[in-house]
Symmetry: C2
Subunit: 333 residues, 2 copies
């Protein structure tokens, strides 16, 4: 079946399969939240980037998993995009007093997750199992899991050398000029058991690329061979929600990175980056001028207000994304 836009009813069974959302960072968490408000737990799985994970103060910290978890639990800080709402900072205050490292902001509530996850990992639990336990503690019904339980670390090749992710992102505030991205360990990374189970279940309905940073949040996931192969095989529709709105990133360094990589900071630049892996595009109404070009390339395109400034807007966008999916051609197999 060709991938040109052909209005068609949803194939029998597709509408009841599982939507796999690939998420990382704030945009990913908000899209996941919207989808979780629309889809039943059995119909949505959220695979999360682990390229930002790192060890700090002896604790295993997984920023993207936590942002997704906190957002789904409704305890996230909507202003910062990371960490908890109603947070306190007494741990960090005393840590600073005794000369500890305070550049990575760990709130008192937040810290419990890092300590408990670290304890579980040290006792031999996988990151998937530990994540499931933490999410259960927060009352999250939908499946949230890391893309892999293996070690996968994003490193950024910059004008001042190759930097670890958190060194680049938090400590240096993305100031260095990015030249290339490395996903260390990705070539040996197996999909996490919940992801492998889903991929092998025959129940996968579609993949949604959340509006996360393509290089920092999604590319590390694509670099997991099993997931990259699935995207290349094009067995299920892949819909991308553009992280670029009106010629700028909604949040974070995506726009800066695109300029540094010589890409135009607009939907076409993102589309150029994702290439043939994406069948359908959800772009912002402000970017309507890019729709024709995407359609010429055989993509299905939908327009919406894509700014997820609160949970209701995330839900509304999720409904638009699912409507777009219903308009998509069926799987190629």
């Amino acid at each position: 079946m060709d991938r040109a836009e052909t209005p068609s009813p949803p194939a029998e069974g597709r509408a009841h399969g599982v939507v796999l959302a690939l998420a990382g960072g704030v945009g990913g968490a908000r899209m996941a939240q919207g989808l979780a408000r629309v889809l039943a737990p059995g119909d949505l799985a959220i695979a999360v980037n682990v390229g930002d994970d790192f060890s700090h103060l002896g604790l295993s910290i997984c920023p993207d998993l936590d942002t997704v978890m906190y957002t789904l639990a409704g305890v996230h800080n909507p202003l910062t995009g990371w960490g908890r709402a109603d947070e306190t900072w007494n741990f960090l205050e005393t840590l600073g007093r005794i000369g500890g490292e305070t550049w990575f902001r760990l709130g008192d509530h937040d810290l419990a997750v890092h300590v408990e996850r670290t304890r579980r990992l040290r006792e031999g639990e996988s990151l998937s199992t530990a994540t499931a336990a933490l999410c259960a503690g927060f009352g999250i019904a939908h499946a949230v899991f890391p893309v892999t339980d293996d070690t996968l670390r994003t490193r950024i090749d910059t004008d001042i050398g190759v930097l670890d992710f958190q060194d680049y992102f938090v400590r240096r505030q993305c100031a260095p000029v990015a030249r290339a991205f490395h996903y260390s360990g990705a070539d040996r990374a197996r999909p996490s058991p919940p992801l492998a189970d889903l991929l092998g279940s025959g129940r996968l309905r579609a993949i949604v690329l959340c509006p996360s940073n393509p290089w920092l949040s999604l590319a590390p996931m694509f670099a997991v061979p099993a997931l990259g192969a699935l995207l290349d095989a094009r067995r299920v529709p892949v819909v991308a929600v553009s992280p670029i709105v009106g010629g700028a990133a909604v949040k974070g360094p995506a726009g800066k990175i695109m300029r540094e990589l010589g890409l135009s900071v607009d939907v076409s630049g993102i589309a150029q980056h994702y290439g043939d892996r994406v069948d359908g595009w959800m772009i912002d109404e402000r970017d309507a001028r890019h729709a024709a070009n995407l359609r010429e390339q055989g993509r299905t395109v939908a327009l919406a207000d894509t700014l997820m400034t609160d949970a209701a807007r995330s839900e509304a966008l999720a409904r638009e994304v699912l409507a777009l999916l219903d308009r998509m051609p069926g799987p190629a197999v």
Copy 2:
């Protein structure tokens, strides 16, 4: 020189030597605070029990070192006897929510010390070095160090079996009947470098046994062979401040333990326990009836109000203890 009470001026040089306080728990911390308000940093060293130390949630927790440190820094909680004043509990609240262990109360400020110490120990620092760094962070000028950097763990043989210290003390609130105490690892424990340096310096003026629990706080320290041998050799005066006042422990399970061991819960019971290792007794005015008996045994005795309900009273008691030391016979060598 005999050890009978013979009023004598302080031996030349003794008054400028180092007083070594052996401390653990609340009574130890308050006595140490009082001594630190009277003696210059070069004239006081505080060796602290490590028998209560344990690993919890992957963190190295040293309750007695922390209580001494917090008290000397003036950030201790005077009501509980452990932890920080103005503490918050958001870490523990979230930890409970996600199913973590909350029976050991870790406050948000307090946690920073455990995380930073654990990080330092994991990176290969000794407990002595880590303690010095933490104390420096809290602006403590006096030397505070663990009695040993080696692993030494108090275990309590009870009517329901042998219990780890925190299991007995915190989780079971000292309810089981104690039969005997084991100080696991003590026989192989070397004195910590700062303690060894002091013992080898020739500058030791006297030893003060703080009013800490004799079985839970001080006996683990005596079980370190180098310190036990020093006490047995009786080279310097040893003064004990009684933890029993008016027939009851000021705080904690000392009275209950004494009953369980068949000792009378009074100064004579404590004196019987310490035996010949103590030359001088600081007892409470309420226990004056025991003074004659102690003097008959050749001890120097002083009476005072020994309840250290605030820092000023701790300081006043410290002055009484130092006055008692000045009345003591000189060293036997």
